[in-house]
Subunit: 160 residues, 2 copies
DNA sequence: AAATTATAGTTTCATTTGAAACTAATTCAA
DNA sequence: TTGAATTAGTTTCAAATGAAACTATAATTT
């Protein structure tokens, strides 16, 4: 032990969550990325358009918490491969409405089971109760995480 | 609802954890990155060397789950700024032993409270019980996540 | 209705990242 | 012990990412 609590990285929550998330993303992406030639941002757009056809890029960005550049690139790539088709919104010609092509639908239909299987695997060692707890915890953490977290943190550092 | 369960991204666990982790990392990094001219990989190396002086780059990589290239770059940058010093291991001259300089120690001492404050903030809405549950859940999830997750997933996709 | 401001989306450029090749030291095997 | 295989760490190159500038359309102000 050192001066203060020396910050054991292994038990530091932000770090643990980051490692967990990374492991999950990488593992899951590994299951479909090369096989379907689909990177994570594309997968997210695909899944979103599956649920919300005729979204604009902006709407997809909002739903996925991706930034608009990432969405733009993912959409281009999906369109090149014929997985997404677009049409101009006649009411607002700045907007492009996006939807899956039949190919895109088919691809999504193949990946969804993979995704669900992986999710099940993650959850399989949890009891019913623990799954409910997880729900609660994710919600609470997400809420705290996205608060402008600066106040305490800043005041801590102002002096020194 | 569509064909099968259409994969609502908002309730898809891998996605939720990824968004949470991203939000946390970004927020936390925002609190020290520009102020101390320290990026996330550097911060991780710094924190690790604080706890485990005279680690080799390899050891740091293992502890932080970073890859060796990232460690190498972070170490270079920390050394340029005089925050880390190195010495060659006389028993194995391939290895470089790393430790914090006094400056590095001082920097770490300033950031640790910020990190702890942010962690506290994340946890502050959780009851004592929920914190224990979180502990259990993170462990279980991490264990499942890092299993070669392929079996089920692959078998699912082989056909179709 | 002309000029200003705002919004949707793309492109550009600079930075970050990762994989693979590389250098140097060590260990193992014949 | 020489030669092959390992291991530590760095460098190189190509791909991914993000911020800011840019284009085009729409909404607002005067």
């Amino acid at each position: 032990m050192a001066k203060q609590t020396p910050l054991e990285l292994d038990s530091f929550l932000p770090y643990r969550i980051s490692v967990l998330a990374n492991t999950i993303s990488t593992t899951l992406a590994g299951a479909y990325s090369q096989r379907f030639d689909l990177r994570i941002p594309e997968w997210r757009v695909l899944a979103t358009l599956g649920g919300y056809p005729d979204s604009s890029a902006r709407e997809v960005a909002r739903r996925t918490a991706m930034d608009k550049v990432a969405v733009s690139r993912a959409v281009s790539s999906l369109m090149e491969r014929g997985r997404v088709v677009s049409s101009i919104d006649t009411l607002d010609r700045r907007r492009t409405l996006l939807r899956l092509s039949p190919d895109g639908e088919a691809l999504l239909a193949r990946i969804v089971p993979l995704a669900h299987a992986y999710e099940s695997r993650l959850l399989e060692t949890l009891t019913r109760q623990e799954r409910l707890q997880l729900e609660t915890l994710l919600e609470k953490l997400m809420q705290q995480a996205s608060l402008r977290s600066s106040e305490e943190v800043e005041s801590c550092s102002k002096r020194s």
